[in-house]
Subunit: 401 residues, 4 copies
């Protein structure tokens, strides 16, 4: 019988869109059971959501602290194995810290924390613990994103020269946050979204995707953040010039006020010998151009794609796969690691097949640099180096408890 | 607590792609538990798949007959509520009949049966039973398909005049069935696929989709079926001229030898005042043209779509949804009906929110007409009328047992 | 100095869209001078258009008969070399016959004539004359259409198995012809458009394109023509099943009532080893799929296309070329042949690099078969064989006069 | 009879792609006759090209100076009316100055000059002359670009907030200039291309298009130019952050080393109430999104587009129009103005319906600012203000000579 793991959830109540996405994705392959939750900011809200989801009443908790404490007292074959954190950004840090203290693995929504300082603290704790930490960079779960990464990693595109990555959205083109819209409210509240709204909400996806596909680090940024909606205390539009560690150049731009755009994320990477283009509007297609061959279209589920993409593909014959499958792919890799640990095997804490604290901390260093650049007169601001020695070198192994 | 229903499965073993799709889709919303199965053509195969899926050993059965018998003896709170039939076409009929006899609801893959005669028999049995029958026409679960149907139903396009529907695939362009490829083998075996392979496998999707969106019946057909791969005993390519009951004209074509195509299903419906275009390559987009207004693009999850589409949408903000969500949408409507019955409420057996025996029998009448036309010298062959009185009039109610 | 040829024009007055297209296309490369015209159905109209175009008054004629007579009396270095016929279909035949009698080459709009009988008569006259005849199948001038033909001709796709070609338009979805719309009026007048409107106006393009790309003849048809707009005396929608001489199957459909469509012509050709797709909505792109390689996108002006396409390409670097360039490409080949003749060289009357009476007569045989099929109860109607011996064998040479 | 104007040409010999484009475009509508040329850098080259084009020998000149001198002595009904300058960038200024001195109107390729200083000098000379100057910003001739401008100008999008414009090309991804490739050679020679290659060659198109559509001026830039191909003395890739005079933000990026891109220019403009997207890959389509309505697709030749677009459209029914038509549209407006002057009418020197020295000087000010920013440590560099008083106020009239 296929082993299963047990999941708890903080945040993501019945009205929270992202909470439902996590539950659907986690449930998809039948290897994860949702067993408990602290699903709202009050006990009443948590109970309402818990009932809606059919959770047993005794495992619906009023707070994450209560959940960690009581779950910790349950037997090995009952208590949750990991907690999914689907709260506003400001809670990622304290909940992750508490979960690790209580002995639970963590699946945390992006960005990792509210500040770079917090990310470093959390990273240190993770490295000292025997628990696993997964950052939900769901885009990295798409087969064609993996295919793109493979093409770069295998040198097929040659040295990367230019990157263009963007994430335009238009839903905050008016002051939606004053109309009672919860999603808008927390994202435009500096205490909950962090030093920059556009990067903290969507720009971190762009950064994570660019570093994942290129295998390169963004080393310097030059940022221009703007607020177009009057009275809004956070930025709602941003452009960033990028310089990568190998000299490649790039542009990253994000917007919450780009009327007509919904989830218009796309990335293009140009190398010496070839280039790739991928878009969230057509996730199963990767366009590949070659300097001396005809252009190709690679598609999820078709022959001619690499192993990573094939492994992340559920159906064949090019049936349309979407974002749930991408979330699920991240969950699957994380569950695999948890089960290995359970069986007493060694697992990698870095380069783990799923995004970890390394990627999360890199993202926070990027966010931090952009926020500093936005208020600086200097042209270039360095992204602080989260050196491998600080971060735990690739290959460091978590020993099972 | 949200009520759940229990599902058993016949066919769809671990190597069967469609079986996995059903399990993922059924699991997606956490309202269906897979509790038992007869998952292979032998006990050994069934057990292997059952173990792989983590089913308890005592509920993995060697045959559907054994499953129906033993499950029938379990208590109300344990035995499966419905059976999903994911076998080759020739088994749909006997398993459905047996399931109804044993008191289980049925979720059956398309096409409903192997012959029109069987479909009529099964339809009669369903009408006399208090059990529900759902035909898995998964395409009808896509939000933008529902949106298209709504536009026609509300008269926005005016009277429908022309329909073009196609489903090209290329995977059988060579004689794959002689290489040990199971999917190819049964689809090219006349005993298992039925009188026509292209219509029985993919043409029935086209017909179901066209009748669903237009709300019209295909009344006459003129078909040309062909076999291009030498030695293949079934057709692998087909074209059909369509006449609809209201005088609208259409073309339906399908192919298994259309090199380069995977799941290239698309439909276009032209009315007096507007037209729609939808494609399985971009399931979340519906293009709408108007005779005297500018063209529109409607998208899943965006404002400006109707209630049916919105109800079938899981995420907002235009996140990419795919075919799993479409399957799930069909399951959800079916589960709703099962639960209503369980609560002693009345439910409709027809016009049920999910495809029923009516749609299934219509599909078999179409398949039957195409098969007759293909060997006829007459230009037009009538699709036999599955009259409402025969089929159970809309509005007929299943009384709970 | 680059030699030029002189062009006269019948029809195509200042309000006629197609007349202007011909003039722009003929003028594009600076090798054709428009020197005279009989541009309207009355002398008054002709003079008005002639003045508008800046033609010298003495070379604006009241009728094509007058034009042929008076131009024939001018010197070798003054009189027109060829006449472009841009009139309603019913005038193609008498004007072509008269032009040949008067010693002028002919550039004739499609379709060649009103009836198959006329086409055969005209074909015979052409074969006995020393003048050249070009049929304006403008679509054959697109570089990517030539590329598609090359791929088939060189056997890259293997034997052709299936063809799908369509030309939906929507501009006649209402009874526009009763509103004073000239274009609509003649196209819906059986005496001017011929036995079928949809085939005579747009279906002939589909047929010509399909035979050009595949190099195959349509041998049998099964047609369903319909009239949706009440009171219209001609068909405004049509579907045709096709059988090709090699056993390939196809579908051709055309419509004037497909709301929202403008010039939606597209063709797909599936062979044993590969397939191509081309559309008038994106004329510079040819999608090529292979049975065992990744898909390609070929584009006008890019490396990697064959000689025919490259020869028909004016710009490099993928600048957008359109339908004027396609018309011009047909003119260029025709002018080349005229100039060769002028220089005393031999030229081919068939397989001439531009569409000739052979293609024109094939088109009329197709139209004739569709019209007969539309009123027949028999399923299949043979397209009459315009045998090479009747048609002038390929390689027959026009000897200069 | 429709009046014509006579054109001379400097540069654009038979091997120069852009020369041919100009000739085709100028010839398209039959209102411009090419009468003379100095078509190469030597007399021999000029004569070879002149013969190829069929120009009379006595009007093929060895240099532009000779041409201006000799043409100036011809009679009013013979000598050229205007000269088209299709040379490398460094010759735009001296030839334009000489042409104005000699009394000829000027059609000049972009960019206007090599330096901002030259542009200002040339602008002053134009304002003091009675001759007209047209800058060939061909992109501004596309109907859907005009439609976009109209939407902004009429306030339909609300205040512009964000602009994204890009022009990736890949043809210089290797050191093509050392292989004898003439186009590559002059574009990578700082003396001929000017202070920046990417902006001087393609970035000026982006800037001109952005200011044309938005009606706004770029006021500040922050640029990052790079050279990826070793040994190349000019930049081959560039990113620029933009700030517009009204506070709108933008990104402009261009590249010559973006493998796989050909003419990938595209622009997106987001306003408070709507947004537009246009691309050179599909010039006849304008996507328009609205904050509270469904998205639209506007197309060249379809109903529902504004007057400017309709006026720039040659065909109806959505036949594909391309870049030649766009060039022709610029020529047509310019010819109209020349003819008005000839008839003694007043014409505007600014806001002229075609791009003038105002747009040209703005482009050079932008180029100048980018070049300064690229080597500056300061974050923002102001684009120098070419004030209307300096530039000739809108409404200033050229009086006929």
């Amino acid at each position: 019988m296929q082993a299963k793991v047990r999941m708890g959830m903080v945040g993501g109540g019945k009205q929270a869109w992202i909470g439902n996405v996590h539950r659907l994705a986690a449930a998809m392959d039948g290897r994860i059971d949702l067993v408990c939750g602290a699903l709202g900011s009050t006990r009443r809200k948590s109970v309402a959501s818990g009932m809606h989801l059919g959770l047993p009443g005794e495992r619906v908790y009023g707070s994450y602290r209560e959940m960690f404490k009581k779950e910790g007292k349950l037997g090995d074959d009952a208590r949750m194995d990991f907690v999914t954190i689907a709260t506003p950004n400001n809670m990622h840090y304290p909940i992750s810290m508490a979960a690790l203290d209580a002995g639970f693995h963590v699946m945390c929504e992006k960005p990792m924390t509210l500040t770079l300082e917090e990310a470093r603290n959390l990273g240190r704790k993770i490295r000292r613990s025997d628990r696993l930490f997964c950052l939900m960079y769901n885009l990295l779960g798409h087969p064609m994103v993996k295919e793109a990464r493979d093409l770069v990693a295998r040198g097929r595109l040659g040295a990367v020269r230019r990157v263009v990555v963007e994430y335009p959205q238009g839903w905050l083109a008016t002051r939606l946050e004053t109309t009672g819209h919860k999603q808008a409210a927390w994202r435009t509240d500096p205490r909950r979204i962090g030093p920059t709204c556009t990067i903290g909400d969507i720009g971190c996806h762009c950064h994570g995707l660019a570093e994942y596909i290129t295998g390169l680090r963004v080393s310097e940024v030059c940022a221009d953040l703007a607020t177009f909606v009057r009275g809004r205390p956070v930025d709602d539009d941003g452009s960033v010039l990028l310089r990568f560690e190998n000299g490649a150049r790039g542009v990253l731009w994000v917007s919450h006020i780009a009327v007509g755009e919904r989830n218009g994320l796309s990335i293009r990477v140009y190398g010496e010998k070839g280039s790739i283009a991928w878009s969230q509007q057509d996730v199963n297609r990767l366009v590949v151009h070659w300097i001396n061959k005809r252009s190709e279209i690679r598609r999820t589920g078709l022959p001619g794609v690499g192993r990573s993409a094939a492994r992340a593909t559920r159906s064949t014959l090019e049936y349309p796969e979407g974002h749930l499958e991408a979330f699920s792919n991240v969950y699957l890799e994380f569950v695999d690691a948890i089960l290995k640990l359970r069986e007493g095997k060694k697992v990698r804490r870095e380069n783990a097949g799923y995004p970890t604290a390394t990627e999360g901390t890199r993202g926070m260093a990027f966010l931090d640099a952009v926020a500093r650049s936005a208020v600086s007169q200097a042209k270039w601001v360095a992204v602080e180096d989260e050196s491998p020695s600080e971060q735990a070198a690739p290959g460091v192994i978590v020993k099972p408890s």
